[in-house]
């Protein structure tokens, strides 16, 4: 007996909102990887000489650099938040028969993020 199989269109990820937000989440990982690469190259180049360091720091202040940073920041923030919110699904912990509530697991991750961000801010701005 012949069966019919509905073909999957290339725009399947536009057909339902959750699929769209999933694809955006995956797409934002490019910005995470890209920014890591940028930082590594930046540190390597900045270490060459005092002049190189000054030129690179100056280039960071250009409008293009600020716009690119802002765009990267938004995407990386989206990436981090969506993954942090998924943590309770991956980390299932029980205390006896009771499961530790999702909000405590996700809250712990956010708290850790906040503390690390504060330490880094303190090191850069005030340390």
């Amino acid at each position: 007996m012949s069966t019919y199989r509905k073909p999957v269109s290339n725009t399947w990820w536009l057909e339902r909102k959750p699929y769209f937000f999933f694809v955006i989440r995956e797409f934002t990982s490019l910005f995470v990887a890209g920014y890591c690469l940028f930082l590594l190259v930046f540190i390597a180049k900045a270490g060459d000489s005092q002049d190189a360091y000054t030129t690179l720091v100056f280039s960071l202040k250009s409008p293009i650099s600020i716009v690119l940073h802002l765009i990267s920041f938004i995407f990386i923030l989206y990436h981090a938040i969506t993954w942090f919110n998924l943590t309770p699904k991956i980390m299932v912990l029980h205390l006896g028969e009771e499961r530790i509530p999702n909000i405590l697991i996700a809250g712990g991750v956010y708290l850790g993020w906040g503390i690390v961000s504060l330490i880094i801010s303190w090191l850069i701005l005030g340390g």
Partner: protein, 264 residues
């Protein structure tokens, strides 16, 4: 939306007394491609999509084919795409679709046999592959006269959620990965494997691991998460898959760090 109208903002408004169901029709003997047929069905406050489809079958068109049985979200037979979302037709109320137009299709990602009936062999084979039953190591099976394997409520709590699966396959229909590549083991089969892996009485994890940790198993999943959203029993297969990924990764590290610890 009761017959004759309802009160909205203290003003009586007249509303539609019928609902239009647009149903996917496919007859393998005469159709090469499917078509949609519209049916006008009376609207009743307490009717679900399955009631409307039963009405069509009984009163309008007896040729319509679909699966159903319990009518109460237990048997898992009446999974269908309702306005593009996988639902149990017995749990999708007509009143939740205020536009008055509902499109019903067979569950996405499966080959369609006729109308709303799809082929479920692939799922059944995958289910068999993960050995969804308690396995004991050789020589560790207790004789019947020694009684049952005891378990504490805390041990039960670790896997109970996964026992609620009714094999309705809504999670497969919600999974774009399965639609794109049907070799993927899929959410329910992995959740059921986890159900036994996390059971304190079971010793079969290593036997299931070959299938679970294969490329077509957990690693094919990209954590879209929709399988858990559509699950009518809150089984949360997406969580089961991610937890299996964590366990498999830990296995790998353990094997690298302490190679002699490999226990079979």
């Amino acid at each position: 939306m009761a017959t004759g109208g309802t009160y909205l903002w203290k003003r009586r408004v007249s509303v539609s007394e019928t609902v239009e169901l647009e149903i996917f029709r496919y007859c393998p003997e005469k159709d090469t491609t499917p078509l949609f047929k519209s049916y006008e069905v009376p609207f009743r406050e307490d009717w679900v999509v399955l009631d409307a489809i039963n009405y069509i079958k009984d009163e309008i068109d007896g040729t319509l084919s679909y699966r159903w049985s319990c009518r109460m979200g237990v048997c898992g037979s009446c999974g269908m795409m309702v306005n593009g979302v996988p639902k149990l037709a017995c749990a999708a109320f007509l009143k939740d679709y205020p536009s008055g137009k509902i499109r019903v299709e067979p569950l996405q990602g499966f080959p369609v046999e006729r109308d709303l009936i799809f082929e479920m062999d692939d799922f059944m084979n995958k289910l068999t592959e993960v050995k969804p039953y308690i396995l004991r190591k050789e020589g560790e099976e207790k004789p019947i006269e020694e009684g049952e394997y005891l378990q504490s409520p805390a041990e039960l709590a670790h896997y109970k959620q996964y026992t609620l699966c009714i094999n309705c396959m809504l999670c497969y229909a919600a999974c774009p990965i399965y639609a794109l590549d049907s070799s993927f083991l899929g959410p329910a089969a992995i959740a059921l494997a986890q159900r036994y892996n996390l059971d304190s009485r079971d010793q079969g994890r290593n036997q299931r691991q070959e299938v679970i940790a294969s490329h077509e198993g957990i690693w094919e999943c990209t954590f879209v998460g929709e399988c858990s959203v559509v699950c009518p029993k809150n089984v949360d297969p997406a969580a089961a898959i991610q937890r299996a990924k964590v366990s498999s990764t830990l296995d790998w590290f353990k094997e690298k760090i302490i190679p002699w610890s490999k226990e079979k």
